[in-house]
C-alpha cells in the first residue's frame, strides 16, 4: 500500500471507529478508552527508538510528564486550545529527546537504558522543585465548563487522543517504510557496519530520539485536563516506562502494528483488572504486565506479529 493510500485508509478506519465508539452510552467507557489510546501512542512512539533503532528507552515518564507539565504552564499563562498545547508539548519533549540523544547516544545497550532511567529521575526532581507548577504538592487544573465539540469534556479528550493515535501510527509507518527507516534498521543491526556503509548514525539516532520524544510529549499534554489534579509521583509513574516497553515487546517491534496490538491487549487487561478491582493493591497491574512480559519473551520473542509471520512462513513452505 502506498503511503498516501495508507494515510487515507487509516484515517477513514480511525474515523469510523471513533464515530462508532461515540455511541457508547457509558461515560466510563471514554474514561478507560482514553487511557488505552494514550498507551497506544506511547508504545508507538517508544517503538520508533526502541524497535526501529534498537535503543531501549526507560525514560518514557520524563517525556510524557514534560508534555503534561508544559500544558500546566500554558494553562496558567495562556488560554490556548488543547490541540495547540499538544503541539507545544511535542516541541518541548522533542527538544528534550534531542538533548537526551546528544548526552547519551554514545552509550550502547544496557548503559543507554540506565542513562534514560536516570533522565526520568532528574526530570522528576526538576518538577518537584518547581513551585510554579505545584512542586511536590501537585496542581489542580480546572477544566473549561464546555467542551469545544459535542459531548462531555472527557469525550473531547478521548477524541483528541484518537486523532493522536492516528498521527503517531502515520508517523511510525512513514518512518518504517522510508530510507530513514532502512538506516535506523542498519543501526539496530550493527552500528559499526552501518557507519562503514555511509549511514550518518549519530544524525539518524538524534532524529529518532526527537520524533519518539515529541510523540510521547504530545500524549502527555491532555493529561492535566483528564486527571484535573497532576502531581509528580503519578505523572512520572514507573508504569509508563514499563508499559511502553512491554507493549511493543508483546505486540512485536519490527512493525507499527505491534505496539498497537500490544497496547490494545495490555491496556485492556489492565483496565479490566482495575474495574473488577480484586480488592488488591493497584500495583497488581504492574504484576500483570511483568508476568505477560516474561511469558512473551520466552514463548514469542518476536511478539504477536512474529508468531503470525512464523505461521505464514511455515504454511508457505
Amino acid at each position: 500500500m502506498s503511503a498516501a493510500k495508507f494515510l487515507v485508509v487509516s484515517f477513514v478506519v480511525s474515523l469510523a471507529a471513533l464515530v462508532a465508539s461515540r455511541f457508547a452510552s457509558n461515560e466510563y467507557f471514554f474514561y478507560i478508552g482514553y487511557q488505552v489510546l494514550q498507551f497506544a501512542v506511547l508504545a508507538t512512539a517508544w517503538n520508533i527508538l526502541g524497535g526501529y533503532t534498537g535503543y531501549i528507552n526507560f525514560g518514557t515518564p520524563a517525556f510524557f510528564a514534560f508534555g503534561a507539565y508544559s500544558t500546566v504552564v500554558l494553562h496558567k499563562l495562556t488560554s490556548l486550545p488543547v490541540p495547540a498545547m499538544m503541539l507545544v508539548a511535542g516541541v518541548v519533549s522533542g527538544v528534550m529527546g534531542l538533548g537526551m540523544g546528544y548526552l547519551t547516544l554514545r552509550l550502547r545497550g544496557v548503559f543507554f537504558a540506565i542513562a534514560t532511567l536516570a533522565l526520568a529521575i532528574v526530570a522528576q526532581t526538576l518538577i518537584v522543585n518547581w513551585d510554579f507548577v505545584g512542586g511536590s504538592r501537585g496542581v489542580y487544573i480546572i477544566r473549561p465548563e464546555m467542551a469545544p465539540i459535542h459531548g462531555t469534556y472527557v469525550q473531547y479528550l478521548y477524541t483528541l487522543m484518537f486523532a493522536l493515535v492516528w498521527l503517531s501510527v502515520a508517523v511510525a509507518r512513514t518512518v518504517e517504510r522510508s530510507r530513514l527507516g532502512l538506516g535506523l534498521a542498519a543501526i539496530r543491526d550493527d552500528e559499526l557496519a552501518a557507519e562503514a556503509s555511509g549511514v550518518p548514525t549519530l544524525r539518524l539516532k538524534l532524529i529518532s530520539t526527537t520524533i519518539s520524544g515529541a510523540l510521547m510529549g504530545m500524549a502527555g499534554a491532555p493529561l492535566p485536563y483528564y486527571v484535573t489534579y497532576l502531581d509528580p509521583t503519578s505523572s512520572f509513574n514507573l508504569s509508563y516506562a514499563v508499559n511502553s516497553v512491554a507493549m511493543p515487546v508483546i505486540g512485536g517491534m519490527t512493525s507499527w502494528v505491534g505496539p498497537i496490538i500490544g497496547a490494545a491487549l495490555l491496556g485492556t487487561v489492565q483496565q479490566l483488572a482495575t474495574v473488577m478491582h480484586f480488592r488488591v493493591d493497584p500495583s497488581v497491574n504492574l504484576l500483570i504486565v511483568g508476568l505477560l512480559l516474561i511469558v512473551f519473551v520466552i514463548i514469542a520473542p518476536n511478539g504477536i506479529i512474529g508468531l503470525f509471520r512464523a505461521r505464514r512462513r511455515g504454511a508457505g513452505r
Binding site: R179, L182, A186, R188, D189, A196, G198, V199, P200, T254
Partner: protein, 245 residues
C-alpha cells in the same frame, strides 16, 4: 604519480600499549597491496585508523589530496573509502538486497544528490552487485541462511555497493577452504580490473603472494618491509618475525 591515500606518521596507543608507531604508507591508485603481519601486529588497527573507526593519536592521513583526519567513518565511505570487516557484520534482520541498498542509498545516493538515486535504481543495482559475487539466488533471504563463504561474499558485496575507489578487505578469507579462497580471490581480481584499488589484509600467504603487486609487513606496530612481494618476504627482519632466529 601522487598517491590515492597517504598516511604520515600514523600512531595509535591503547593505554600504555603502542599499537601503531608512526606508520608511513602510500597507496597508489589501482594497485593491489597486501598487508601482512603476525597476530596483534596492528594490521586491523591500521585499517580502523585509515577508515575512521578508530581515531589515530598522531600523524595525518590524506586521501585524494585532502586531509581526512577529522572525518567520521561514514564521511570517508562517501568519499570512496570502503572496508569489509574481519568478522562479517551483516544487517541480520534485513534481506541481502536490503543489506546492499543501505550503502547504495546512504553512500552512492548521498554522493550524487543532484541526480537522485531512485528506489528502483537502487534495487536494480543491489541485485546486480549480488549477481556479481554469485549471490543472486539468495537476494531475498536473510543473512542467517548463508554459508560461511557466502557471508564473506556478502561482506565484500556490501563494501562494493558503496562504489569505492579504495577497498580494505580485512581477512576476507580467514577460515575458508582452498577452493573458497580461490573464489574470493577471483572476485577481488575482478574488482581491481574494474578500477578499485584494493588493500588485502590476510594471513593466507599463498593468497597474498598471488594477489599483491606490493607487500607491506607490520610487526609490533612498526612497518618493517614495503616493496615487491618476493623481496619483502626475503627481508631478514620479516623472516625473523615469522620464523624466529
Amino acid at each position: 604519480m601522487t598517491a590515492l591515500l597517504e598516511a604520515r606518521g600514523v600512531g595509535k596507543r591503547f593505554g600504555g600499549f603502542v599499537a601503531l608507531e608512526a606508520i608511513d604508507l602510500d597507496i597508489a591508485n589501482g594497485e593491489r597491496l597486501g598487508l601482512i603481519g603476525p597476530n596483534g601486529s596492528g594490521k586491523s588497527t591500521l585499517v580502523n585508523c585509515l577508515t575512521g573507526t578508530l581515531k589515530h593519536d598522531s600523524g595525518g592521513i590524506r586521501y585524494d589530496g585532502r586531509a581526512i583526519d577529522s572525518l567520521s567513518p561514514h564521511q570517508r565511505t562517501r568519499l570512496g573509502l570502503a572496508r569489509s570487516f574481519q568478522l562479517p557484520k551483516p544487517f541480520r534482520t534485513l534481506s541481502l538486497v536490503d543489506n546492499l541498498r543501505i550503502p547504495l542509498i546512504y553512500t552512492v545516493g548521498a554522493r550524487t544528490k543532484a541526480h537522485h538515486l531512485s528506489d528502483a535504481a537502487a534495487q536494480q543495482r543491489a541485485l546486480a552487485v549480488l549477481a556479481d559475487v554469485g549471490l543472486a539466488d539468495k537476494a531475498h533471504r536473510l543473512p542467517r541462511d548463508l554459508t560461511q563463504v557466502e557471508m564473506r561474499k556478502l561482506e565484500l558485496a556490501r563494501a562494493v555497493a558503496s562504489a569505492p575507489r579504495l577497498l580494505f578487505a580485512d581477512e576476507a578469507m580467514a577460515g575458508l577452504s582452498p577452493a573458497e579462497v580461490e573464489e574470493i580471490l577471483a572476485v577481488l581480481f575482478r574488482l581491481n580490473e574494474e578500477g578499485i584499488t584494493i588493500v588485502l589484509i590476510e594471513h593466507i600467504m599463498r593468497a597474498v603472494m598471488s594477489f599483491s603487486t606490493r607487500l607491506v609487513v607490520l610487526v609490533a606496530g612498526q612497518k618493517i618491509a614495503d616493496g615487491p612481494p618476493q623481496e619483502a618476504i626475503r627481508n631478514p627482519q620479516v623472516e625473523r618475525a615469522y620464523l624466529g632466529e
